[in-house]
């Protein structure tokens, strides 16, 4: 995932090509041991790293029922032991930001505000360092093709978590208006699947695992298509 946003504004294709992906984490070598270091490093780190610390956990080994949905909030709680900061960082919604740079600025704003509130946070050392990580994503063709939404609904239960990540999470970096690939493709049918698109956009990708997201997608598709 390159730093700049990757947008795809091409017309949706007629056939849905199911892709799959795998993510691998890479240490950046950048670390933060206090909030000031976090502020400095976060302001300079590549956007891939910001992305990883919000979304990478979905495809990387990590305990699912996390108390905090991004690594910055978790560090504020477990490393820095600053509850107000952890709560404010935890509420940041990556799907609500216009892009990763905006997301970074939102985080920096919260950190700056907290440093203003509590001077001691300039020098209090965290009990664990924050390790800035970035990731590489390898995308490949699963060879599965869906010609119709019904066919896609049939495929959904067999899709890997990598496919779910690629089409439902990663798509938001590639497509305008933070759309997922399923909605983007359905929009080629003009108004016909507008309701289905609305239901898909109501799935919150930020809470729960990829398995959970997959279950929700299966339910939305099957109940919509059954009614139709």
């Amino acid at each position: 995932m390159n730093g700049p946003e990757i947008k795809n504004t091409m017309s949706p294709p007629n056939v849905f090509e199911v892709k799959d992906c795998a993510l691998i984490a890479i240490a950046t070598g950048r670390r933060a041991i206090n909030l000031k270091e976090m502020q400095d490093t976060l302001s300079a780190i590549s956007l891939d790293s910001v992305y990883y610390h919000f979304w990478g956990g979905l495809l990387q080994p990590r305990f699912e029922e996390r108390e905090f949905n991004n690594d910055f909030a978790a560090w504020a709680w477990y490393g820095l032991h600053d509850a107000p900061l952890a709560e404010r960082l935890a509420v940041v919604d990556p799907t609500g930001s216009a892009g990763l740079e905006d997301l970074r600025q939102e985080l920096l704003g919260i950190i700056e505000e907290r440093l203003d509130e509590k001077d001691s946070l300039y020098y209090v050392l965290a009990t664990a360092r924050f390790e800035f990580i970035r990731s590489q994503i390898v995308i490949f063709d699963s060879q599965k093709r869906a010609e119709t939404p019904e066919k896609l609904a049939e495929f959904l239960p067999t899709l890997s978590t990598g496919s779910i990540f690629y089409h439902f999470i990663d798509a938001r970096r590639r497509l305008d208006q933070h759309r997922d690939d399923f909605s983007y493709w359905l929009s080629s049918y003009s108004e016909r699947y507008q309701d289905l698109c609305r239901q898909l956009s109501a799935i919150d990708p930020y809470f729960g695992s990829l398995f959970h997201i997959k279950d929700q997608l299966i339910n939305v598709f099957s109940s919509y298509l059954t009614k139709e």
Partner: protein
């Protein structure tokens, strides 16, 4: 799909296996060589034992080579291992000379496969200097560090770094272990093989056999720590914790089961200290098991109530993963990869002292419902994250990444 992958599909899911095949397709026919220093004993050998045939099965021409050395070589590399884990060790120049000479000799034996390989994985410090002899290499070399190198003793790391710098990439189990190096440092936690003798389901009869074989009482609570007799595993701390629990739960029993690896000359001395601390208590069972006692270890973990891994330093802690896979809550040292696996009140408890361990043992023994619930959650956590199939997936991703260029986004056609 072959029988080998059929079996993994049963445990991890068929889509996981399909995923692996697709990731491996661009790598078909490539030559991969893994090199380490022991064929049996220790986590690295256990991983390679299965990873290598699986990579072969996926069409990648994979070989596993083992370097050989004398006692002085292993004495030196044990010192390096301890040094990487932060112990202030001095390795005399004559031992370092043996280390370098041993690698030179081993390179002569391995020259052809190493020069011809598309990818070479060098595991841990023992074979690290091999690359310095391979002037005509055609492939990419990756140094895989399985050790907690988060705070290495600097003189040791400085010495090793001269060999590691020239690699194309390195792999660490956790981001905290990564060091300053002039190449990408990938983060890949290790894994367990659910189909190995150490982890496979056992019959009731086989599980119960350990009670009679080791004179354990099946009706009394059993604590088990499985690990090498190594100071960093803190077996003495485990005995202290057990003694603190014993005051409140007199029925409790403890098993310290340790294997020995051929590259660990210090084990004997630590085992002696363990025996001294356990003397006079018939409920402490110190078992020195042969390297192939996998099913025995499996059974001991399965019949235990709580598994301990009270390490002071830990690379990843595969014994933790194994215990969790068997649905056991783990009380683990607050270090290394244990932090990634043991989540307080969810999959077990992390502790820093024998007192902390004792408190958590008492808590779990008094809350049997909680004990069961935590064990179930631990097993599910391993299924999702720490099985061999996930490990293999990350190796394949890394190979694709190295082969197709280290851009952040690689689209395979």
């Amino acid at each position: 799909m072959t029988n080998l992958f059929d079996a993994y599909a049963n445990v991890a899911g068929p889509e996981v296996v399909t995923h692996l095949r697709q990731l491996a397709r661009p790598l078909a026919g490539m030559k991969v060589v893994h090199v380490n220093s022991t064929r049996v004993g220790g986590g690295v050998a256990e991983i390679l034992e299965k990873l290598v045939p699986l990579m072969q099965e996926l069409g990648i021409d994979t070989a596993w080579e083992v370097i050989e050395g004398n006692e002085q070589f292993y004495q030196c590399t044990k010192g390096m291992h301890n040094g990487l884990q932060g112990q202030h060790v001095h390795i005399p120049d004559d031992l370092l000379a043996v280390y370098e000479e041993t690698n030179r000799q081993n390179f002569q034996n391995l020259q052809h496969p190493l020069e011809e390989a598309d990818f070479v994985f060098i595991h841990d410090p023992q074979p690290a200097p091999l690359l310095s002899h391979c002037a005509n290499r055609r492939g990419k070399w990756v140094w895989r560090c399985h050790i907690d190198a988060s705070h290495p003793y600097r003189p040791i790391w400085k010495y090793l770094r001269q060999f590691v710098n020239s690699y194309d990439a390195s792999i660490f189990s956790l981001a905290e272990f990564a060091q300053s190096l002039p190449h990408p440092q990938y983060i890949i936690p290790p894994s367990i093989d659910p189909l190995s003798d150490k982890n496979i389901e056992l019959s009731e009869q086989e599980m119960n056999s350990v009670f009679s074989n080791f004179e354990l009482d099946p009706d009394r609570p059993l604590l088990v720590q499985v690990s090498r007799f190594d100071r960093f595993k803190d077996p003495i701390g485990v005995i202290q914790a057990y003694k603190l629990v014993k005051k409140y739960v007199p029925a409790v029993q403890l098993v310290l089961a340790g294997g020995s690896a051929t590259d660990d000359p210090e084990g004997e001395q630590v085992l002696q200290e363990v025996h001294e601390n356990a003397a006079g208590d018939a409920d402490i069972h110190v078992l020195l098991l042969p390297p192939d006692a996998h099913r025995t270890i499996n059974a001991l973990q399965r019949v235990s109530d709580i598994v301990l891994q009270k390490s002071i330093k830990e690379g990843f802690g595969l014994t933790v993963t194994e215990a969790m896979w068997k649905g056991k809550p783990v009380i683990g040292g607050n270090t290394g990869g244990i932090c990634l696996q043991v989540i307080n009140y969810n999959t077990g408890f992390r502790v820093n002292t024998p007192e902390g361990a004792a408190l958590r043992i008492r808590y779990l023994l008094h809350h049997t419902e909680k004990l069961k619930e935590i064990g179930n959650r631990a097993r599910a956590f391993v299924r999702e994250n720490f099985l061999l199939t996930r490990h293999l997936r990350e190796y394949l991703t890394l190979l694709n990444s190295l082969y197709f260029g280290c851009t952040d986004r690689i689209e395979l056609n």
